[in-house]
């Protein structure tokens, strides 16, 4: 059943692409999640509101819709912006120099790559989920310890680095693990906006060999390997960070 007719390498290439998208977007998601969590817990009402708006909107809209909005919409928006910039710059130069010929200062047409659009959207979406995870984790750290650290004269960065972060990780790991597993599966959607990931490679191979079941099943199994590997790694990390509480 699993005779892949020489498409093994192509499928593995796709799997590597899937992995790249997942890893880059999880980094972005963590950065956004940390910013979101800190804003949600901050004293500034504006930051709080913005973060709440972010998490509510993202968690209310399907990832596929957000991805298409960002990919197709981003394309239109960037091109609109480029045209505007060109027009304004040319007008401005023309005022100083009447002999000026129209030139394109920024490219007239920019192609957004599906890779970048995919990483940005998935990172943006999971940033919202990470915000909730990190917020809970920060709240789970004893306030008194932070106050004690501040009383010792530590700078905010030192408090974060030495007291908050090591304890936060412990509480954030289970939620982070769940988010990562969902994120990994979400990356399958980037094939819809044309990225050559494993799902698309499988589709192309299925088209020429007329064996769609075999190829999509192979993709499913590769995903299972990824998730099984992640779960093992996450379990190890959870054990590692919980040693001190035992």
């Amino acid at each position: 059943m699993f005779d892949l007719k020489g498409y093994e390498a192509s499928l593995l290439e796709g799997a590597w692409m899937t992995l790249q998208v997942s890893l880059l977007s999880v980094v972005l998601a963590m950065v956004l999640g940390m910013i979101g969590a800190v804003s949600k817990l901050s004293r500034y009402r504006m930051a709080k509101r913005l973060a709440t708006l972010y998490t509510t909107v993202v968690r209310g809209i399907p990832d596929l819709i957000l991805m298409m909005l960002l990919f197709f919409g981003g394309q239109v928006f960037v091109n609109f912006l480029c045209t505007q910039i060109n027009e304004h710059l040319n007008d401005w130069v023309l005022q100083g120099n009447a002999q000026h010929e129209w030139t394109a200062y920024v490219p007239e047409y920019v192609d957004i790559s599906p890779f970048i659009a995919g990483v940005l959207t998935i990172g943006f979406i999971f940033g919202a989920y990470m915000t909730e995870t990190f917020r809970g984790a920060i709240l789970a750290v004893d306030r008194g310890q932070l106050e004690a650290a501040a009383a010792y004269g530590m700078t905010p960065w030192q408090v974060f680095r030495r007291v908050l972060f090591p304890q936060m990780v412990r509480h954030a790991l289970p939620g982070f693990g769940n988010n990562w597993l969902v994120l990994l599966k979400t990356t399958a959607l980037v094939s819809v906006i044309g990225l050559d990931d494993m799902v698309r490679k499988a589709g192309l191979a299925a088209g020429t060999t007329q064996l769609p079941f075999t190829f999509y099943m192979a993709v499913a199994l590769i995903f299972l390997v990824f998730t099984a590997f992640s779960t093992t790694l996450l379990k190890w990390a959870e054990r590692h960070y919980s040693i001190q509480t035992r």
Binding site: L69, G73, V199, F213, A220, L224
Partner: protein
């Protein structure tokens, strides 16, 4: 840059999409739940012949993307000559049937895991009390275990319902005119991605908020016994 008059003009397409999304999600949730309860019980069973198949099923469907599951059923079915020559082929040719099947199988796996967790966390005393009253295992299951477990599973299940709604967006990829499909049609017709996808996004959001509201009402009704006692 924005022209929302397109949407006013094309609202019948969105209405059709909304209808298709709602019935696809609702039917697959009901079917999925009816598979999930026995599956969750099997997963908790001490008999490995029941437990291991249930474990494998849940593991496969929770570990792979729904898009891939949908493709395996929608595109993959044609690879089997036995299926092509049978009466079932008529069904497998229909995109909506494949979507319904894959959504049902998917949500059954996730819900079974929720049911399993809820059954596992049941206080031992409740089961022992039921046995002490002379209840049969079947009576214990239907009168004591499930009513209590399903109630406690409610918050987790509301999350699953929302995930299912969001996951159902992939139906738009296999030619079904659900909300995503409608947005894709409008985008292709007018090349106006913002208007098309924002409208779909807002409609999905409204649906999500409705689900949250319904579950909040259900929780108020069924979690009365869990609320902190006020003096």
């Amino acid at each position: 840059m924005f022209d929302f008059s397109i949407i006013l003009q094309e609202w019948p397409t969105y209405l059709q999409g909304l209808g298709n999304t709602v019935w696809l999600v609702a039917v697959s949730l009901i079917l999925g739940l009816s598979i999930a309860i026995p599956l969750g019980i099997c997963r908790n069973s001490t008999n490995p012949l029941l437990r291991l198949p249930a474990w494998a099923y849940i593991y496969f469907f929770r570990g792979t993307p729904m898009l891939v599951q949908l493709f395996i059923i929608y595109y993959g079915a044609g690879q089997w000559d036995g299926l092509r020559n049978s009466w079932a082929w008529e069904w497998f040719q229909e995109a909506w049937f494949c979507a319904l099947l894959s959504f049902t199988l998917n949500t059954a796996a996730y819900t079974a895991e929720i049911v399993r967790g809820a059954i596992r966390t049941i206080p031992k005393g409740e089961i022992e009390a039921a046995q002490a009253f002379g209840m049969t295992p079947w009576q214990t299951m239907t009168c004591i275990l499930l009513p209590s477990a399903l109630r406690r599973a409610l918050p987790a299940y509301s999350n699953e319902v929302i995930f299912m709604l969001h996951g159902s967006a992939v139906a738009g990829i296999i030619t079904i005119v659900d909300l995503t499909g409608a947005a894709r049609i409008i985008n292709a017709r007018y090349y106006s991605p913002f208007e098309a996808f924002l409208t779909a996004g807002v409609l999905y959001m409204v649906l999500s908020l409705c689900i949250v509201w319904v579950f909040r009402r259900l929780e108020q009704r069924w979690h009365v016994h869990l609320r902190p006692r006020s003096v």
